[in-house]
């Protein structure tokens, strides 16, 4: 959901950043298995990366905060396979399958894995010309949908400058709810920290977001 705890840019109270020297890729084998299952199930294309994000964002906030990163992924994946009818709640409770699986159109094999190391392409043909160009002043929308969005709270209702047009991309707000790619132009929009955080902010700091066209209006 849009205004849930995952949207934490600008929050206070989480303490210092703690860096672990010589950190391994995974801190326990189960983390690797969660990572791998998540990618393997993503390969089925039964849902989108934004569907996965939405699944994690709709965890209860205290569970979200208390969970480690791969615990969150696990909880999100468990929700996804149940929500999409691939696994029954009873099977989760039993810890084993109780009936045959659905037939999938795509299933990841070991041979497919090297190909999955390239990031997916989210660019889509543009339905028309871009509304904005580099240098344009824009104002972000004040939206608070109960469904997934990628416009963070701290950057809503703010005035910034388009720095670059990144082409036309899958629109996460649509893809997350199964409403298709609904391609939209994507822009890098830069805000001064003072615009975002007020006059006391450091004048030498600026922050950019990657903003989809529906998030923007001429300033």
């Amino acid at each position: 959901m849009t205004n849930s705890i995952h949207d934490m840019g600008g929050m206070h109270g989480f303490g210092p950043v703690e860096v672990e020297p010589n950190e391994p890729a995974f801190h326990a084998p189960w983390e690797g298995r969660v990572f791998a299952m998540q990618r393997a199930m993503g390969f089925t294309r039964l849902w989108t990366i934004d569907g996965d994000r939405a699944s994690i964002e709709t965890l209860p906030p205290v569970a979200y905060l208390a969970a480690s990163y791969y615990e969150r992924w696990f909880l999100g994946l468990e929700k996804q396979v149940v929500a999409h009818g691939l696994v029954g709640e009873d099977e989760i409770a039993a810890g084993r399958s109780l009936r045959p699986g659905r037939r999938l159109n795509r299933k990841l094999t070991a041979a497919d894995v090297p190909g999955t190391m390239t990031r997916g392409n989210f660019a889509r043909p543009a339905p028309g010309p871009a509304r904005f160009k580099a240098g344009d002043q824009v104002r972000t929308a004040n939206i608070n949908p109960v469904t997934h969005t990628r416009l963070p709270r701290y950057a809503r209702g703010k005035t910034g400058t388009v720095e670059a047009v990144r082409g036309c991309h899958v629109f996460p707000d649509s893809a997350a709810i199964g409403a298709g790619d609904n391609p939209q132009f994507l822009y890098t929009v830069v805000f001064s920290a003072r615009e975002l955080w007020g006059e006391a902010a450091d004048p030498s700091v600026s922050v950019s977001i990657e903003a989809f066209e529906p998030y923007l209006a001429p300033a």
């Binding site: 840019g9 801190h27 298995r33 997916g120």
Partner: protein, 219 residues
């Protein structure tokens, strides 16, 4: 385990210790069993994904790209113009997909990358993100208190340096091209790559000086 989850009053989740680990291990194993029995995933494919994540990708890839940019001005121009195209032209790294963007640190401007909404990270060139990058302290503070965050990483910049934060709110991914350290004239690409840390490519660090370089690289 996320550094943000620990406090004396939090004894659920967020931890790889003792019984918590066992619980997650059991739940993850059960889900893998269910998905396998139902024919949705192939354990050998999962093994391969884990192996790839642990052994194939990592900041060594980004370090080679940065070193090349330091020694080859034409490559650097290509990298800054279209990082995906430039990196794929090298041939020796996995294809990085089409949404990689490189941003250059200079004496006047320092770039730092975050994903406030989840943990988007250019894993094709940097490997899996470290826990701190995925933690609430980093995600919440990078956009409102970047100098405080940098100070915790031991980075102090001249006061007139412009600081630019990139919030990864779409599928575009950002690679910071750190400044080439002084005293490295005549070093070859491999030697230079030894100076390029993960953090320097996220913007939470600088490249190492020759004095800090690994012994096998320093002269």
């Amino acid at each position: 385990m996320a550094a943000d989850n620990h406090n004396p009053h939090d004894h659920a989740h967020g931890s790889v210790h003792g019984s918590e680990l066992s619980e997650m291990q059991l739940r993850v194993r059960a889900l893998e069993t269910i998905l396998t029995e139902k024919g949705y995933v192939e354990p050998a494919a999962l093994d391969r994904i884990v192996e790839n994540a642990e052994t194939k990708i990592g900041p060594h890839i980004g370090a080679r790209i940065v070193a090349r940019a330091w020694v080859d001005p034409a490559f650097k121009r290509r990298l800054l113009a279209d990082a995906s195209e430039a990196v794929n032209s090298l041939g020796y790294v996995s294809p990085v997909g089409s949404h990689l963007i490189a941003v250059e640190n200079t004496p006047k401007a320092h770039h730092m990358v975050v994903c406030t909404l989840c943990s988007c990270y250019p894993w094709e060139v940097l490997g899996l993100p470290p826990v701190w990058y995925k933690s609430a302290p980093y995600r919440s503070r990078a956009v409102i208190d970047p100098k405080g965050v940098l100070a915790e990483f031991g980075v102090t910049l001249p006061p007139d340096t412009e600081i630019r934060i990139w919030d990864s709110t779409a599928e575009t991914r950002f690679l910071v091209l750190p400044m080439r350290p002084a005293g490295t004239e005549g070093w070859n690409e491999e030697q230079l790559a030894g100076l390029v840390t993960r953090d320097s490519m996220v913007g939470t660090g600088l490249a190492k000086s020759p004095a800090e370089a690994p012994i096998e690289v320093a002269r």
